[in-house]
């Protein structure tokens, strides 16, 4: 299981700004290791963020998203103290879900 995500969510003027830092290698599948063998691709494919049971963002990624991916987005209608749940799944089927509280 990968390391936990860091999720920051701040509500201002009715808009919640969410910043997520995930911990993932994001291997492209084009790089070679020291012995010249291709390192197999390993990257996050799907990201979903939900707030109070409603999906507020989905993302579909390829291997060109940088290592330890950063994601920032904004949505309307969140209140202080409410939770945001972010889930990702990579191309090997690994999953991770974490939650953050809106400040």
């Amino acid at each position: 299981m990968a390391d936990p995500m860091r999720i920051r969510a701040v509500a201002r003027d009715g808009v919640v700004n969410v910043r997520v830092l995930m911990s993932h290698e994001m291997e492209t599948g084009q790089r070679k290791d020291a012995s010249g063998k291709l390192v197999p691709a390993h990257f996050i494919r799907n990201v979903t963020a939900t707030h109070q049971g409603k999906t507020v963002l989905t993302a579909l990624w390829g291997p060109a998203v940088a290592k330890n991916p950063y994601l920032e987005f904004e949505f309307k209608g969140g209140q202080k103290g409410e939770k945001i749940i972010v889930t990702w799944e990579d191309n090997k089927g690994d999953k991770r879900s974490d939650e953050g509280v809106i400040n």
């Binding site: 808009v15 994001m26 492209t28 084009q30 790089r31 409603k54 999906t55 507020v56 963002l57 989905t58 993302a59 579909l60 990624w61 390829g62 291997p63 060109a64 998203v65 940088a66 290592k67 991916p69 950063y70 994601l71 920032e72 987005f73 904004e74 949505f75 309307k76 209608g77």
Partner: protein, 151 residues
């Protein structure tokens, strides 16, 4: 070109041709199976995500540095001021696979996302936005002084 790579390409193409000839898969199926992330050119990837017609729009703002020192981590944000924005997709023209990723924007979510991408070399970056069922596009060049594919 690297010899083993050429061989792999030949055999890969050969396999598809063989399956087509044997009637195992129809050309339509072969097309449907290819996902936009595997497309090798910008035009193909864009067509796979956003259809053949896209309007250039200045209501899409790509927030990124003009010059990035490290191609492995290039901060790129896309802000769409188009009403009814439902999808934002990001492409780097000169990457081996131009499509970086796409973001689904449900109603209530602002058309404003940021992430960090890898870029192999200086390239135009395109943002494709679907708003109200139509596709719009904007681009910006980002210069890279150090490539991002070496890891």
């Amino acid at each position: 070109m690297n010899h083993s790579r050429r061989k792999a390409i030949q055999s890969g193409g050969g396999l598809i041709a063989m399956l087509l000839a044997a009637g195992v898969i129809s050309p339509g199926e072969a097309l449907a199976q290819s996902d936009p992330f595997t497309m090798k050119t910008l035009a193909e990837a864009m067509r796979a995500v956003g259809g053949p017609n896209q309007t250039v729009s200045d209501a899409i703002i790509i927030k990124a540095p003009a010059i990035a020192e490290n191609g492995a981590v290039v901060p790129v944000g896309v802000e769409s001021k188009l009403p009814g924005t439902e999808l934002i997709a990001l492409f780097v023209e000169k990457n081996p696979q131009p499509l970086v990723g796409s973001f689904g924007i449900p109603s209530g979510t602002v058309g404003n996302v940021s992430t960090r991408v890898k870029m192999g070399q200086t390239s135009d970056v395109y943002a494709l936005v679907k708003a109200d069922g139509r596709f719009y596009v904007a681009k910006k060049e980002i210069k890279i002084t150090l490539g991002g594919c070496g890891g």
